[in-house]
Every structure is written in C-alpha cells, then in structure tokens.
C-alpha cells in the first residue's frame, strides 16, 4: 500500500471515528450515564453501542504492511471509562468474542486484550470515584491498555517469532490510532460534561430566582391582604393611612379596631425581619392585638395581654414595634401605649409645637410580662398627628442621607392645611422623591389623624 493511499485511508477511518464519537456522545443513554444514572437499561444500551463499535473497529482495520491495525479496543475502553466495569466488560466481550471467532494465531491474545481493556477502563472509572477520568487520563490509559494488548500477544501467541514480528509492525500504528481515537472521544465527552454542568447550574440559578420571586410576591400578598381596605369615619376627626411595601416586604402594618361604642383603636406597627416570616408575624400580631383590643377600652391592658401572647409565640427573637392608641371622639382624647415604636408626632396647629408620643415601652414579643405604660393626650381641632414607621425616616437619598424626622415634620408643618388623605399622599410622595432611583429597602407606612370641627 502506497504511503499516500495509507494516509487517505487513515483520514477516512479517523473521520468515521469522529462521526461515531459525535453520534454516540449525543445519545440520551450516554448523557444519562454521564449524569451518574447507571440504570440496567442504560448499561445494556452502552454495552451494545460500544460492543458494536468494537466489532466495527475490528472489521474496519487498516492493513499496514500485511498486518492489520485496528481500533477494536477503543469502544470497550471508553465504555469502561464512562460507564464502569460492567459496561467495559460487556462491550469487551462482544468485541472479544467476535475477534475470537475470526480465528488466527493472535486470536486468543487479541480477544482477551479487548475484554481486559474494557474491564480496566471500568476500574479506572471506579478509582476516579465513579467519574470520567478526563482527557489526559483517558489518553494515557489508552496508550497503556494497547501496550498491554501488545504484551499479551507476545506472551500468549505461538509461534513466538511471528508474534514478535506482528507486534513490531503493528505496535506503533495500533497505539497511535487507538490513542488518537481516544483523544477525539475524550475531548467530546469532556466538552459535553462541561456543557451539561453549565446548563444544570443555570437551571438551578433560575429555579432559585423563581423561588425568591414567588416568595416576595407571596409575602407581599399576605401583607397587603391584611391591611384595612377603608378608613373608618370618626366624628370630629379626619383620618387617612397608606403603606407602600418594599420589594422585600418588611412586615409594616396599620389597623383600625372598633374598640367599643364609638371608640376606635389606631395601630401602626413594624415587624422585625423581612419577607414571608415578617409577613406571617405581622398577621399573627395584628390578629392578637385585634382580639385583645376589641371590647377593651384600656390600651395598656390590651397591649399587655397582646405582648404576652406574642412573646409566647415569638421564636428566634422576632418582635414587633407597635403604637396603639384608643381615640375617644367624644372627649377628644387619645389614650396610647408605645411598645418600642417610632414615636408619633403631634403638631399643634396653633403654636406649631411638636409633642412626641412616647411611653418608653418595650417592643412586643421581646419579653413576657413586660409593663405597658399608658398615657393620654387631648387632641384639639387644629392638631395633626403623624404616625409613621422607620421606613419613612430611614429612606435614604444621595450619599446615604436619611429622610429623617426633621424633614418629615417640616413637610407635615408646610402642608398641615391639607386634608389627611392628601397629607399622607404628599408625605409619601416626598419620601419617594427623596429616595430617587435608589431601591426602597423598607416598607413605608404612614397614618395621619387631623382634628376638625365637629358637625
């Protein structure tokens, strides 16, 4: 055979190996095995595929100087490296038995070598903790296994002199062609593994993102569905409230509780924490306070009982800062308890004086039996009370500057002529404008209570 023809034939074989490698590595069974799913069906499929490839290796052998260089060992080796000893051995047996039946004085040695190559591939797979060994490892292994093949021919085949001749002629082309075939396969396999890893990482990331988004929207829905839909009419007062939840909701809420005979409970609160846990704790706190407040005109008593119930339920340091006031329109008094909440501010419409509604109480849920001191204030027709959560005064503008209590009081003062609903809108608008494009980190909750002439 002329050198040029030999080269063409080799290129021809290499192309066939490449196409086969591409097709085999793209089969579903093969991919499943790469993912570690070594089911019986998958193993059987790989045995057939690589056994068939081994037979193909034998029959497509290239004749060089009267002997045949072949890639029979390649299929079983890959099968073993990818699918373990069972696959390697199975494919090796198919290729080996087929070779054995063809006869010839090297028959027994060659068929044994093929079976051994598959089995050893499987051993390498096991030693590498059930993973494909990688391009470098696979190439070195194939050079070793084919050398072993040659050694077996020398050891077993008779007559020895002929065996030596065969080995001398075929060793280099055999090792070269098998190793090159392995290089092609291993390269495709490792590419495929990388692709699949990237794809599965991306899927995981997307799943996580989707979960987070779901969580955010669930938390938001819980929180929003427990805010009052309407503001009650209170004789002699003008009342309004608004809550703008942050993207990751913070458990703010406000509530109006019909306490008894015209008296109305006003609640503004902020639960510690974020998202679903905060939203659920908000629902719990709101329900408990509603239960203890209804029919109970004393805010301190209601708050004390609510605190004990919440504290009994509060795990891992959850707490809620809460302002609770009972407004009696008849006497124009507001009796209130401040459990660790940002103190509401009363703006005297005549003098412009500011009074902060503090009682020094501890946030609810922190400690059972906490004392809840109660105070009282009389609200005149000209007064404006502004209730808020920390999301209002801690809204940050440029350079981490906070909106702050001063700015809140100034906006209130400058717009105290507005009806309550408009004032709430105005303040909320100022806070949002102050934050500009910066994301809103915390819920913004506002309530405004204004005195007005009765009747």
């Amino acid at each position: 055979m002329a050198a040029g023809t030999l080269l063409l034939t080799l290129i021809d074989k290499i192309c066939v190996i490449m196409v086969a490698a591409y097709l085999i590595t793209r089969t579903r069974r093969f991919c499943e095995v790469l993912d570690g799913r070594l089911t019986r069906e998958n193993q059987a499929a790989l045995i057939l595929i690589f056994g068939g490839f081994s037979v193909f290796g034998t029959v497509s052998g290239v004749e060089i100087f009267g002997v045949i260089a072949n890639v029979r060992d390649l299929g079983p080796m890959i099968g073993g490296l990818v699918g373990g000893p069972v696959v390697g051995l199975g494919a090796g047996l198919i290729g080996g038995v087929h070779r054995y039946l063809l006869g010839g004085f090297t028959g027994p040695a060659c068929s044994l070598a093929t079976v051994l190559a598959g089995f050893l591939g499987g051993a390498v797979y096991l030693l590498n903790r059930r993973r494909f060994v990688g391009v470098g490892g696979a190439v070195i292994f194939s050079a070793f296994a084919v050398s072993l093949h040659m050694l077996l021919v020398l050891l077993i085949s008779q007559p020895y002199e002929e065996a030596v001749m065969v080995v001398r002629e075929t060793a280099v082309p055999m090792i070269a062609s098998n190793t090159f075939g392995m290089l092609v396969f291993a390269f495709m396999i490792s590419n495929l593994m990388k692709e699949r890893k990237t794809a599965s990482e991306r899927d995981e990331y997307l799943d996580e993102l989707e979960k987070k988004r779901m969580e955010l929207s669930i938390a938001r829905e819980i929180q929003e569905s427990f805010l009052p839909e309407t503001v009650p009419e209170v004789e002699g007062f003008d009342l309004a409230a608004k809550s703008i939840p942050a993207k990751e909701v913070g458990g703010d809420f406000y509530d109006f509780v019909p306490v008894s005979e015209g008296r109305i409970g006003l609640v503004i609160a902020d639960v510690s924490g974020k998202s679903v846990p905060a939203a659920l704790f908000m629902v719990l706190s709101r329900a408990i306070l509603r239960a203890t407040a209804t029919g109970n005109p004393g805010p301190s008593e209601a708050a004390r009982r609510a605190n004990d119930l919440i504290a009994a339920d509060a795990k891992s340091g959850m707490f809620v800062t809460l302002f609770y006031g009972v407004l009696d329109p008849g006497s124009r008094t507001l009796r209130y308890v401040n459990a660790g909440h940002n103190p509401p501010a009363v703006l005297d419409g005549v003098t412009g004086e500011i009074t902060l509604l503090r009682t020094g109480g501890l946030a609810m849920g922190v400690m059972e039996g906490a004392d809840m001191e109660e105070r009282e204030i009389v609200l005149c027709e000209e007064d404006t009370v502004i209730f808020y959560t920390d999301g209002v005064i801690e809204a940050t503008g440029e350079g981490l500057e906070q909106f702050g209590i001063e700015r809140l009081l100034k906006v209130t003062r400058d717009n105290s002529h507005l009806p309550a609903a408009d004032l709430v809108r105005k303040i909320a608008g100022e806070v949002v404008a102050f934050s500009g494009d910066r994301p809103q980190f915390d819920d913004i909750t506002l309530m405004v209570l204004k005195g007005r002439r009765s009747g």
């Binding site: 510690s272 924490g273 974020k274 707490f319 909440h341 020094g360 946030a363 400690m367 920390d390 980190f441």
Partner: protein, 103 residues
C-alpha cells in the same frame, strides 16, 4: 469575647452578624461584649440579631453587653425599649470589667 461589627447593620449585614454570633455561641462563648463604636446605623433586623443572641446567651447563663453606642444607634435601641433589656457601657473595657466582677 469582644465582637466588633462595623458599618451599617441592615438586613444583609445582620445575617452575617447573626451567623457570627451563632458560631461564637456554638464554640462555647458565653460572655460576649458587642462593641458598636463602628456601627453608624442599625435596622430592626440588626436589633433582632442582638435580641436573639441576648436571649440565647442568657438562657445559657451568659450575657451580651453592649459598648460604645453612637447616638443614632443608642436612640434606635431606646425607641424599641431595648435599653431596658441590654446592659450598655461607655466602652468595651467597662463591659469586660463588669463581666470579670461577675456581673
């Protein structure tokens, strides 16, 4: 054991502080001083981490003392009523001394 959180104790950084506190308590530390001189802002999430560490330590016979609070942070603790709950000191040395005296 003295812990020195710095910067803004908002929701994300509180998670880190929480993990640190849990690790310290898990390692067996029972008397912990939190030196807050480097903290210029604390959110309700930050308060919560402090509170759960305090509850955990007290239930184990230890305590969490606070030292060197900046005015803004002190006010946040005050509003929530937490100044009744925590022992607060001007500096970490005073807090540590108090631990040594068995306080």
């Amino acid at each position: 054991m003295i812990v020195l959180p710095t910067g803004r104790l908002d929701a994300p950084s509180s998670e880190e502080l929480k993990a640190d506190m849990e690790r310290l308590i898990g390692e067996g530390w029972r008397k912990i001083v939190a030196n807050l001189e480097g903290v210029d802002y604390i959110s309700s999430s930050g308060l919560r981490v402090m509170l759960s560490a305090l509850k955990k330590l007290r239930s184990l016979g230890g305590d969490l003392k606070l030292a060197s609070l900046r005015p803004y942070v002190r006010e946040t603790f005050e509003i929530a009523g937490f100044t009744q709950l925590f022992k607060i000191y001007d500096g970490e040395e005073e807090a540590a001394d108090d631990f040594r005296r068995g306080g």
